[in-house]
Symmetry: C2
């Protein structure tokens, strides 16, 4: 009998490693790392865990990876209903941001986003917003893994007066966290329509020097593509290719308005694509060609986008939208099947972040970032298939979340967080942001 | 002070009558009927209710109307994941139905569906399945309103050996329930590809004689339309127009593969259209042109379809899909706005059923079919707009449901129903249906 920290016995385990769901197996964890996965009967004979956790009606999955978010925008939940992207930005979001974004607002909004993400099974996220240093501090306090894509844009913001200051602050942030096990700094040039060639070139240079990832909104609408062709003679993806921006460290977010050549280019450069289906539908941007991206071999990931265009931070609900939208928009009922959907929100996200050796699947040697879902809700029954229950019924409850084998959520409650105090602060802050 | 049965004081009331949300108003009910809607301060001075119900963080809406379901298919929840419509029918659903559909199976499955519908805010539904007499008995026991569209099809089924027997049983059912306040018998010819001209003609004749509604699956896929043109030289809607089937008593379900002429025809005949977005996405049928149908003046309604292609019976989740899919597929962020979305699932459903004088909105003189949602969940906050919270956050909890002013659901529990006993019966039945 070997002493270990934690053993989780589960009715079902979706490891994401081999496309099957294990039944009546156990995950054994020591020192925050998965050290064995074996039938529960065998685990009981082999291990003496300090903590034993049993999921008789539960499904264990890897922690979810939300690859695109503007966390602090939880404070703008529900702002600008039934508006198109550019009206929503110009008339609703940007005026509110210009008036109210500061370090403390970002810290509070990011904390609020992290609370919702954690309690719905997300253990790793990428953020792209002002004051990333505020988000880093909150993530460390909450114990979440994150990529912070610093906001680079060719006009003055509350955080940086120009791209040069943005780059300088990015370098400082990177220096501060380069040895941190959970905080990863990246570059977040906003979008091809707000970034000059010179600024993009500086992003590439800095990314190569410091080994940073680059996350950028790309071809979110057909209007963006049409306008780019008119202004530059090129589609944005072709322009980025010509500039040498594309590569396995590049995360292209939204990618709704793609032609076949765009998809071929993304695949050829091993770019990661990040779909945000709820946001793309809500803002009437359209449907990303997720089936075609997957078939072309592009590493397809998923994000919630900010709460103002969603309006939630729940990646499971986002994935349900993604699998349904993939089938509905491609006319292929096998598009983005449920194993692929789960891979998109776990292992593929880890690959995009360069963390596939550490997280993204339930595998011996990886960190124990895990989510336990309870599938005993009456209206999940009869249960034919745990993944079908997970994605389609919307009644799977997150019971536990572990990061590095540490229990962060139990029975839906976040360890060490006073949710009532936090929600009151959020309501107070929002009230101060309403137009007078 | 007037004595009344029930007064509900609500933070918000979406009446559906005028496109606004009332704040701090009360709905006053006597004899099962809404007798007043007024500011709460005024109601407190005017009425002495036997029961007073207060919703300090609640939104009151009309009971939802699920206009297309195959209720008993809750027993087939999760059967046939990631399959296209015809494979799903031929390889997964029809073999199971052929082997297992009988009166008792339908009674149990329908009861299970009604439990889920009631607890998620649906007070009225339409069913189209074998053994409608079994569904009628369950609906009466559960106290729900329903339309039973009897299954008419040009091949032998467990319920009827041919359409003639189907019509005969329809007449018998109609005779039994013609004076029942809650059970409405209709005709349910399956689809143009399974119904001959002669059978359609008989449907029209019988519908006219007995004042029955007709519900039919119409143009669910482009393949169905292409095949119809090849076989008959006509699109199905054109064929039905020529046969004289179309009219305000006709409910066209799915209507995914529509051209402009089809939409114009549906509008001209005042046909009701019923969209089932989750089913249409899951089976890769595509997206109904809901924005164009609405703009053309077609009475747009919504249904969950059966649980096997969804996999839930939750009309609020279905409506979320509908509003997102409308925007995403039309490229118009104002498509199916949230007030229209609520109207689609309430008043428009009532119109399709010919019950708009009785239900579908919160209006003096109508029956008190009402749903109370609790909007106090932390992650709904900050709350900008109660309808945005209702449709987009997916965290609005059904607290109470009333039908005719009678409390059917309280704190999520269905009055008089032993849910554990029922779920055990459901699991047992499903086990007996699995392929050996």
């Amino acid at each position: 009998m070997k002493n270990v920290d934690l053993q989780i016995d589960a009715r079902w385990i979706a490891t994401v490693e081999d496309g099957t769901v294990l039944e009546y197996n156990s995950v054994v964890i020591d020192g925050g790392v998965i050290c064995d996965i074996c039938p529960t009967a065998q685990a009981r004979l082999s291990y003496q865990p300090t903590r034993l956790h049993s999921l008789p009606n539960g499904l264990l999955t890897p922690g979810f990876i939300n690859l695109h978010n503007h966390c602090a925008m939880t404070l703008m939940r529900g702002v600008g209903t039934d508006l198109a992207l550019m009206d929503w930005l110009n008339d609703a979001i940007w005026p509110m941001e210009n008036a109210h974004v500061d370090h403390d607002m970002v810290a509070l909004g990011a904390r609020w986003s992290m609370a919702e993400m954690l309690s719905t099974g997300t253990t790793t996220f990428s953020d792209q917003y002002f004051y990333p240093e505020a988000v880093a501090a909150q993530a460390i306090e909450m114990g979440m893994r994150c990529q912070l894509a610093t906001p680079i844009i060719d006009f003055p913001t509350a955080w940086a007066k120009d791209p040069a200051e943005g780059f300088q602050k990015t370098v400082a942030l990177h220096d501060k966290y380069k040895s941190h096990p959970k905080v990863h700094v990246a570059l977040g040039p906003h979008a091809p329509y707000t970034i000059s060639d010179a600024t993009f070139n500086q992003c590439r240079t800095l990314a190569d020097q410091l080994n940073l990832r680059i996350q950028c909104h790309i071809q979110e609408t057909q209007g963006e593509v049409d306008e780019a062709i008119e202004k530059t003679g090129q589609r944005p993806i072709a322009r980025l290719e010509a500039l040498g921006l594309l590569g396995p460290d590049f995360q292209a977010v939204h990618v709704v308005a793609l032609n076949d050549q765009d998809i071929e280019t993304l695949a050829r450069y091993n770019v990661s694509a990040v779909t945000c289906p709820d946001s793309n539908m809500k803002l009437a941007s359209g449907f990303a060609r997720t089936r075609d991206l997957w078939q072309a071999g592009v590493n397809l990931c998923i994000g919630t986008d900010g709460a103002a265009s969603n309006n939630d931070q729940d990646l499971l609900s986002e994935a349900r939208s993604a699998t349904l939208a993939a089938k509905g928009s491609s006319g292929d009922a096998t598009a983005l099947n449920l194993q692929q959907t789960l891979q998109m929100m776990t292992l593929n996200g880890a690959r995009a972040l360069g963390l596939e050796d550490q997280i993204g699947s339930i595998k011996v040697g990886k960190q124990a970032d895990l989510v336990a879902f309870d599938l005993s809700d009456p209206f999940i029954q009869p249960l034919a298939d745990p993944l079908s229950a997970l994605f389609y019924t919307q009644r799977a409850q997150v019971d536990q979340v572990w990061i590095d084998g540490q229990l962060k959520v139990d029975q839906g409650r976040i360890a060490g967080l006073d949710i009532d105090e936090l929600v009151n602060a959020v309501k107070h802050q929002r009230k101060s942001m309403e137009p007078q």
